[in-house]
Amino acid sequence: MAVVSSPRKAVFNRLAIVGVLIATIVFLAPIYWIASTAFKPRELATTVPPTVFFTPEITPFIKLFVKRVQMTKPVDKATYDAAPWWEQRIYDGGERVLRTGGAVQLSAYPDRFMNSLIVAVISTILAVGFGTFTAYGFSRFKMAGEADLLFFILSTRMLPPIVVAIPMFLMYRAVGLNDTHVGLIILYVAFNLSFSVWLMKGFMDEIPKEYEEAALVDGYSRMQAFFKIVLPEAATGIAATAVFCFITAWNEYAFALMLTNRRAQTAPPFIPSQLGSGLPDWTTIAAGTVLFLLPVAIFTFVLRKHLLRGVTFGAIRK
């Protein structure tokens, strides 16, 4: 199905594809650079010109997961030889592993990562879930002042987080939600909910109401019709919305920085701290970044079809 085009246009078309490839390379270069840094020996991370060929190693990932400390003098040979291979890698880097008793101390990364997972997953489920219900409500039922309510919902997204952060901080302090998972989850839900309602409303409007009405006529209640018919149909929209909400919650930095300390702190404020204290350790921080990018990238990649289609649906019709 192609329009007959002039040779000039065909050339242009080919040029455009070349342009896409170049743009992709340019856009991906920093990410490639970060990813390759995650496998570099520390001293090659910041060379100019950048080191392209090197023997990849996983030391950065080992370092990411254990608590280390700078040594002032080289380790003695006996200790070195007695150490397992991964610990030797750390000795090679001029650091030693911290231990409590005999046990290796893990770094905070696994905890923070887990916190991120808990907070992002739960807040996404809640934001998308509530958003879906509310969008359905707005889409199917009449309500006085509906337009105003919808604008109100959208406008909550406009608030700069810092604006809300101060009273939020005070409120949380008052009720003891500071530095808790629940506190962060609530915050991210509040932040994403308006967006979710807004997007899902677009999708719900697109689903013919005849489907549910058919189910009503067939002897089902509206709730059953909603769960059996509407929800599966809204899957694309839910997926697209979830991707956006997840990306936002997963990467949120400012609130996580201000409202959590240790118990509930997520990874974004943590990763930059891996830079080290004596010498910059870009490899470890790159390793942390790569691992942290993986879940969201996989999530997006799996749902990419929905995402691309989803954006079309939701955004065009408001």
Partner: protein, 437 residues
């Protein structure tokens, strides 16, 4: 998402939520994210073996250490039992009730005699000379310098230097000498530069560098007792100090606009600079061959003197305080008693901590333990500190706001910058009713 995975995730979440409260028995020390905190962790692990109380050293990056700490204080949170707080916070910690008064503890253990005088003065006592103590000096620190011995000792360089400046190329004793050497080694064509200094203004990095120069030049930041600043912080000595700092910035590597300890250390390891300013706490990586290929040829010296021979260095380091909102103050007190023991202090120094114990500092073992310990020992008796008033953060920000554009941006003159600082500081102190009239 498959239902099973979802269930698994929820279960995982529930488990994680449920396990929050688990560590209630432990003590927590809050500090910034750096190696000394790790050494401290190792030290307290030994305490745990002896006493049974486990202690966790909780850390956060330097950039938000202050924010985090005060957010927790202001929330009257009990997340931390002890805080290794910056010396400048002492005022806020003491007057706003965040710190437990340790005067009795101090006097009982005669810590005035045990700890180095400067550390007691700046880390523990507030207000100055009041005899009230809020912290136990824990980590001594100050500004010092690393330099490239191989560059300095290269005969060709020595000859060229002598030809140009009419004296020998040697470790600088004054800022003027330091400046000349920096200029001498500043060779952008060879990707070699003169000096690496602090320029990050997000916290106190740049202020520490600048005040070192100002103090050595005979200037000061004000009268800490009367809060008088005009005519002091913008005195001609202070202005000269600031100008010198600005002069040094000319010989830094390119793009040296947001630098702190990491960059300054990197300047040494990556052959960028002949001399590099840093806190002593960050020198360990420079003497380890694994982390610094130039470890063998890296030397250290104390902050140089000003034109009048005055010699000071900005104080870093911290004391440890007990948080007033902690529910485990007794256990914390018990730990501090253990911590001030000579043995502990020795151990602390061995692990890599900068003890403030005079006995340990004076011991030859300590002074010879590393190439920079001697310089550290020298420095610790000529340190001066920034303001420690409760409104410290505000005046630090004001200081940065004017110093930074002058040094890095080349805006205005040193006099203008410091005049503006004096004006704003006066206004701020007035606002907080610091002046008795």
């Amino acid at each position: 998402m498959k239902r099973k995975t979802l269930v698994a995730l929820m279960a995982g979440a529930a488990f994680a939520l449920g396990s929050w409260a688990a560590k209630a028995e432990d003590l927590t020390i809050f500090w910034a994210e750096w190696d000394p905190a790790n050494y401290l962790q190792e030290l307290v692990n030994q305490y745990a073996e002896e006493s049974g109380d486990t202690i966790t050293v909780q850390t956060t990056p330097w950039a938000d250490f202050q924010t985090k700490t005060f957010a927790e204080f202001n929330a009257k949170g009990d997340a931390y039992d002890m805080v290794v707080g910056d010396s400048q916070w002492l005022g806020a910690g003491a007057t706003q009730g965040h710190y437990v008064d340790l005067t009795d503890f101090f006097n009982k253990h005669k810590l005035n005699d045990v700890m180095a005088p400067a550390t007691v003065k700046y880390y523990a006592e507030y207000p100055g000379g009041s005899g009230k103590y809020w912290a136990i000096p824990l980590e001594g620190d100050a500004i010092g310098w690393a330099y490239r011995k191989d560059w300095f000792e290269d005969p060709k360089e020595k000859e060229a230097f002598k030809a140009k400046y009419g004296r020998d190329l040697a470790v600088p004793q004054t800022y003027a000498e330091l400046r000349d050497i920096a200029e001498f080694f500043y060779r952008p064509d060879e990707k070699k530069y003169g000096v690496a200094i602090y320029t990050d203004n997000s916290y106190d990095a740049m202020a520490m560098g600048v005040e070192s120069a100002i103090f050595s030049y005979g200037g000061d930041l004000g009268d800490y007792a009367t809060y008088k600043v005009d005519g002091i912080v913008n005195s001609k000595e202070s202005v000269a100090g600031l100008e010198m700092y600005k002069e040094l910035y000319k010989f830094t590597p390119p793009g040296w606009g947001k630098t702190f300890f990491i960059e300054d250390n990197q300047a040494v390891t990556e052959n960028l600079a002949a001399m590099s300013m840093n806190f002593f706490a960050f020198f360990p990586p420079l003497v380890n061959k694994a982390t610094n290929p130039n470890a063998d040829v890296t030397g250290f010296f104390a902050n140089p003197a000003g034109p009048d021979g005055k010699r000071f260095a900005a104080l870093g380091g911290q004391g440890i305080s007990i948080v007033a909102y902690s529910k485990k103050q007794e256990a914390a007190m018990k730990f501090l008693e253990w911590f001030i023991k000579d043995d502990t202090q020795k151990k602390w120094a061995e692990l890599g901590g900068y003890t403030c114990s005079q006995a340990v500092l004076k011991s030859p073992e300590f002074q010879n333990a590393t190439p920079y310990n001697k310089a550290f020992y020298d420095t610790m008796f000529m340190v001066k500190d920034f303001w420690a008033t409760p409104e410290y953060a505000e005046i630090l920000d004001q200081f940065n706001q004017h110093i930074y554009p002058f040094v890095v941006g080349g805006k205005g003159t040193a006099q203008e910058a410091l005049d503006a600082v004096a004006k704003e500081w006066t206004a701020t102190f007035t606002k907080y009713k610091r002046y008795k009239s």
